[in-house]
Symmetry: C2
Subunit: 157 residues, 2 copies
DNA sequence: TATTGTTATACTCTATAACTATA
DNA sequence: TATAGTTATAGAGTATAACAATA
């Protein structure tokens, strides 16, 4: 590779570059979501909830909390709001009368699909400067960076 | 096709890897800052304010707002809180009696220095798996990516 | 007794709008 | 009239603590 950077690269600079880039990307994604003609304002965190439910098909609120890395109380609020917008529904868990199961509505699934398309477009636009090989390199480097397998994926700040 | 990454690397996967990694890092940094024996809870945003002031030495609130990318009202709150914690001071701008200049206190400078040390440690820990060369590669790739001037940001459908 | 989810409360970060003092 | 900052208000995202129903 060309080595005009190799003079010095303290860890802190690498991390700052990473954070800065990520902020930029998230701003772009956010603008994307809020400026398009979506029927609902699907903020990063709200979208994250929907995606987590989508992955499981049906999930308990307590499980959802730990999957998202937030507290149960926080999930209650998200579910309240998303239920009001008819993006998901609460169902009693037949196996445990204390528990509540969450499912997406049809509409939520359509919305998620739309968001996914927008994100693909945005992602392509952001990566025009990187070749296929460079993209793979980037993914590999990020994968090596640390053990963060347990960390939930998210799109917000 | 020889290695397991080169099969396919859709843009969206690269972006997700980036965001996920960045979240992980920020959580680590945050834990670092809140768990260490810092006299003040220097959250990410609060720290960002201090660093912005630090860079300029002395800065108007309005300038600070645009430097941070937030509204003037938001800066008022930050400055209120940080002034109460004696991390910065408001001074009248002699050149314009409407304006207010912000300066760091001695204590803030000490705190920033401490935070910087902690972050360097944390950054090193996060990057143990990457060689010097890989770090440079990573910075370079991120630099290409964030070269957003060239990206025609037309995300229309 | 322990767990699930909710009520009650609060904090941080951010915004818009209306106002004041100055320019 | 326009700009700098503040007061007033609001909303999203998150937390802890106390509690009810159930296990």
């Amino acid at each position: 590779m060309t080595n005009h950077h190799s003079a010095k690269s303290p860890a802190i600079d690498v991390i700052h570059a990473l954070i800065k880039t990520s902020h930029y990307i998230q701003r772009e994604f956010d603008a994307q979501l809020t400026n398009h003609d979506m029927p609902f304002q699907l903020s990063g965190p709200r979208l994250r909830v929907l995606l987590a439910v989508s992955e499981e098909g049906e999930i308990r609120m307590s499980e959802l909390a730990s999957k998202l890395g937030v507290k149960a109380r926080t999930v209650t609020d998200f579910v309240d709001a998303l239920e009001k917008d008819q993006l998901l529904v609460r169902l009693p868990d037949p196996k445990d009368r204390r528990a509540t199961l969450i499912q997406l509505t049809e509409m939520a699934q359509v919305q998620i699909q739309k968001v996914h398309c927008l994100q693909e477009e945005a992602a392509e636009a952001l990566l025009t400067n990187l070749s296929e090989e460079q993209r793979n390199e980037l993914i590999e480097l990020l994968g090596n960076l640390a053990n963060y397998q347990n960390v939930p994926c998210s799109f917000e700040e």
